[in-house]
């Protein structure tokens, strides 16, 4: 589940449709007349929520900001407002919901940064089809083992034995997953500590690679889980 690619636009100073005053791009309400501003641009979820452009975000703080802004924008509170403000409330709330959903999920957060930086997304189709080179060995071994487990199952192998084999096959993949999670954590921290744009971009590209591999690993784990559900289904119903 990944967010839509974000069409980027030049950010401009939006004009309040009520009083005509200009407002900084990240203002939600007109500084002059206090009316809700039309959503003039797409893009940066970080500044929209008022958080720094970092990968390490405090989930509680994010959630509190989401709730606070919801209370400011929500269409419930603009029911009697003029149509332009109702529309602004609808668009701003939709955007807020999108921003919060994206930033609270660490992987989607990286995706969003990739989009802001104009880097290719980690969700492109080839990514999930082609085996990442660093995983070749594990994938090869797993596929072989899964074939054998399937054969054993079809010829009536004992459930406990099959389960044990699957569990054993899962372990190296699970280790890889943990390794990747650690690596993503490291890179994220590095990104947050870097100040030069070029360095940040390099780190972000490395993160993109990790993300692609992480998705591949998630697929492998899902395959193992599916295989597991094929074994002794009646046991769980009993």
């Amino acid at each position: 589940m990944t967010p839509d690619p974000i069409p980027l636009r030049a950010t401009t100073v939006p004009e309040c449709r009520n009083c005509g005053a200009g407002a900084p791009v990240d203002e939600h309400f007109c500084p002059q007349c206090n009316r809700i501003l039309a959503l003039g641009r797409y893009g940066d979820f970080f500044s929209f929520l008022g958080v720094p452009r970092k990968l390490g975000l405090d989930p509680q703080d994010l959630e509190r900001r989401f709730r606070d802004l919801s209370r400011k924008f929500h269409p419930d509170y603009f029911y009697n407002a003029p149509p332009a403000e109702r529309l602004a409330s609808l668009e701003r709330s939709s955007y807020l919901n999108d921003a919060y959903r994206t930033l609270r999920d660490p992987a989607a957060r990286i995706e969003h940064l990739l989009a802001i930086e104009g880097l290719p997304s980690a969700t492109s189709d080839e990514g999930s089809v082609k085996v990442p080179p660093s995983l070749l060995e594990e994938v090869f071994a797993l596929n072989e083992e899964l074939d054998e487990i399937r054969e054993q199952r079809e010829s009536g192998g004992a459930d406990t034995q099959l389960r044990a084999r699957l569990e054993k096959a899962r372990q190296p993949i699970e280790r890889k997953r943990e390794e990747h999670a650690r690596r993503i954590q490291e890179l994220s921290e590095r990104y947050d500590g870097q100040s030069s744009a070029a360095d940040r971009k390099t780190t972000l590209e490395a993160l993109r690679e990790q993300l692609l591999e992480q998705k591949y690993i998630a697929n492998l784990l899902a395959t193992i889980a599916r295989e597991e559900s094929q074994i002794g289904g009646e046991v769980r119903h009993g």
Partner: protein, 615 residues
């Protein structure tokens, strides 16, 4: 500005509530009954009956009476064939179009039938406000609830029904979320809440996080085709299997009524009787005892069908059953002990239902209506869209644009281009659902993007924007980005009414207003008659009646009362308003003396220091 109400438009029963001095209250009839059965019946002369009156007619005029119409809202004929088999009314319509319901020689769409129910609720509320001495008693705006798992077409159909009933629909909100709002009023319920809502026709599960007055739905799931109706049908079919097929609708309805009674009894006692009186083609009637254990065995598969959606909602919310702080039960079917047990097991805690499960949704709707018009900000509902929204792409694949469980309002965009040089239009097929193939998802609408500036193939960049509003209803807009030309979109809803159809129906409904007024007078006459009949029967059943009769009644007086009573009862079975009023008056007259005697006795006894209750 008129009054604002909250309405629970249910499969079996509907209710109307409003906020009075900061608290939501259900509006009841003179006998204290808040439920209006969601049943509509048409009399021989075209008068329309709604509620209890229509429910009675289910046994006498089944071919002219519709129930459970909510199951057909926003659906096509191909969806409802299974339901239609036992129904006394005819269900038709074109393949791939809106369902048409045929009763009494007329055709109605489901929103029109629902509008009759809504009009009755509106009338009930207006009468209430008038009795309260309100100068401005007209009810012109409402929040109406729908099952959380309703799709776009079903929501739109509900909104259309509201419009047809002369209501501005302020908001469509989800039933479980409305219930949580009613529960949240006392601020006692915070944390993570699971609302399990099993009603007459639909099942919903919603997982919410409640904090600082914000009711945020984390995930929702359900089955819009699972509820008490299915239990009734299962038992009815079982009996039909025993007594043989080919029974007339009256008899099937009599069986259904007996089954429902037994079902309700079994929530209170361990063993109940299904008793069908002698009826057409079932001359000796039907009697059978059923134990709660038997009943539970039969309905277990239905109840278990609620578990899959519950687990999916938990998974989508990223939670385990142990993370749920409170499980709340909503909907009449949660009175069934088996259901309560299953929910208890699932969440590992006793579910609670402190508020009446039949009324809690309407109360929540009233609260939301009050929030909208008053601008109160203590509470805020943040709901989600239950189903993913997308479009059909090459090869018949569903491409998702807004994912299920996204907080609403939500928007999404998709870019389109042309395949041929100078192509000026593109067809777009909008879908809702979780399946991979377009054919397995719900078709919401088809539209054509027109007015694309002529350009070489692949050059136009058309941005189509999908906006789901706070009602969970979709709107679509598009523009070509190179030229900024706004595209025109004609949306043809797959299972909905077009704007023109709604307009036409509105006009027709005004034309029928006179007939509806007649029906109202008839119902009022009948209610009045019933009150007198009930009071008379009560007097006749007094334990000391024989003594009263011997001491105080004139010879022949008792026979006169009994005869007047029988006349009045006969009259309310018919549609003749004048006759009903006349027989009611006669009964009133015949019992006047008896009433005085009884009253005097009570007063005497009270004065003698004896408790009236002991009499």
């Amino acid at each position: 500005m008129g009054k604002v109400v909250g309405i629970d438009l249910g499969t079996t029963n509907s209710l109307v509530a409003y906020v009075q001095d900061g608290r939501p209250v259900v509006i009841r009839d003179e006998s204290g009954d808040g439920l209006v059965p969601s049943i509509v019946s048409i009399g021989g002369d075209g008068t329309i009956f709604v509620g209890r009156e229509a429910q009675r007619r289910l046994l006498t005029a089944p071919g002219s009476t519709v129930y459970s119409v909510k199951r057909f809202m926003g659906r096509g004929i191909e969806d409802v064939n299974e339901d239609a088999s036992l129904l006394p009314f005819s269900v038709g319509g074109d393949q791939g179009g809106v369902v048409r319901i045929g009763i009494a020689g007329r055709q109605f769409t489901p929103p029109e039938i629902s509008a009759f129910v809504l009009r009755e609720l509106k009338r009930r509320a207006e009468e209430h406000f008038r009795e309260q001495g309100e100068f401005d008693f007209e009810v012109d705006r409402a929040v109406i609830t729908v099952p959380a798992y309703f799709n776009d077409a079903q929501r739109t159909a509900t909104r259309d029904a509201g419009r047809l009933a002369g209501l501005e629909v302020l908001r469509i909100i989800n039933e479980p979320t409305a219930a949580s709002l009613a529960y949240g009023l006392d601020q006692r319920n915070r944390g993570t809440i699971a609302v399990y809502d099993l009603g007459g026709g639909t099942f919903d599960i919603s997982i919410l996080k409640v904090e600082d007055g914000v009711f945020q739905v984390l995930a929702t799931n359900g089955d819009t085709h699972l509820g008490g109706d299915d239990i009734d049908r299962l038992l009815t079919e079982q009996i039909l299997g025993e007594v043989g097929a080919g029974l007339p609708p009256q008899t099937i309805q009599a069986i259904r009524k007996a089954v429902i009674q037994a079902k309700q009894d079994l929530s209170e006692v361990e063993e109940a009787e299904i008793r069908v009186d002698s009826s057409e083609r079932l001359a000796s009637g039907y009697v059978r005892r059923i134990t709660r254990a038997d009943f539970e065995r039969m309905i277990m598969p239905l109840v278990e069908r609620t578990l899959g959606p519950c687990r999916q909602a938990l998974t989508d919310a990223g939670l385990e059953p142990k993370d749920i702080d409170e499980a709340v039960l909503v909907g009449g079917s949660t009175r069934i002990p088996l259901v309560r047990r299953v929910v208890h097991e699932l969440f590992g805690r006793e579910p609670h239902s402190d508020l009446n499960p039949d009324e809690v949704v309407a109360l929540g709707a009233a609260v939301q209506a009050d929030i909208l018009v008053s601008g109160r900000r203590e509470m805020l509902l943040l709901d989600v869209t239950p189903l993913s929204l997308g479009i059909e792409t090459m090869g018949g694949v569903m491409s998702k644009i807004i994912l299920r469980n996204s907080t609403i309002p939500a928007s999404g965009r998709e870019m389109f281009t042309s395949f041929a040089d100078n192509q000026t239009a593109v067809d777009v097929h909008v879908l809702q659902g979780e399946r991979e193939l377009a054919a397995d998802c719900r078709s919401l609408a088809r539209f054509r993007l027109r007015g694309i500036p002529p350009m070489p193939a692949g050059m136009p960049r058309i941005e189509v924007r999908f906006q789901i509003d706070a009602n969970g209803i979709l709107s679509v807009s598009a523009r070509e980005l190179r030229t900024s030309i706004e595209q025109t979109i004609e949306v043809k809803p797959s299972y909905g009414l077009t704007e023109q159809e709604v307009e036409r129906m509105l006009i027709e409904s005004f034309e029928h207003a006179e007939a509806d007024f007649e029906a109202r007078l008839l119902i009022e006459a009948r209610n009045e008659a019933e009150t007198v009949i009930l009071a008379t029967e009560k007097s006749l059943r007094r334990p000391d009646f024989e003594q009263v009769a011997a001491e105080s009644l004139e010879p022949g007086e008792r026979a006169a009362i009994e005869s007047a009573l029988a006349d009045a009862k006969r009259a309310i079975g018919g549609d003749d308003r004048a006759a009903i009023q006349q027989k009611t008056e006669a009964l009133n007259h015949a019992t006047r003396h008896l009433a005085e005697v009884v009253m005097n006795r009570s007063v005497r006894e009270a004065l003698a220091g004896k408790n009236v209750k002991d009499v």
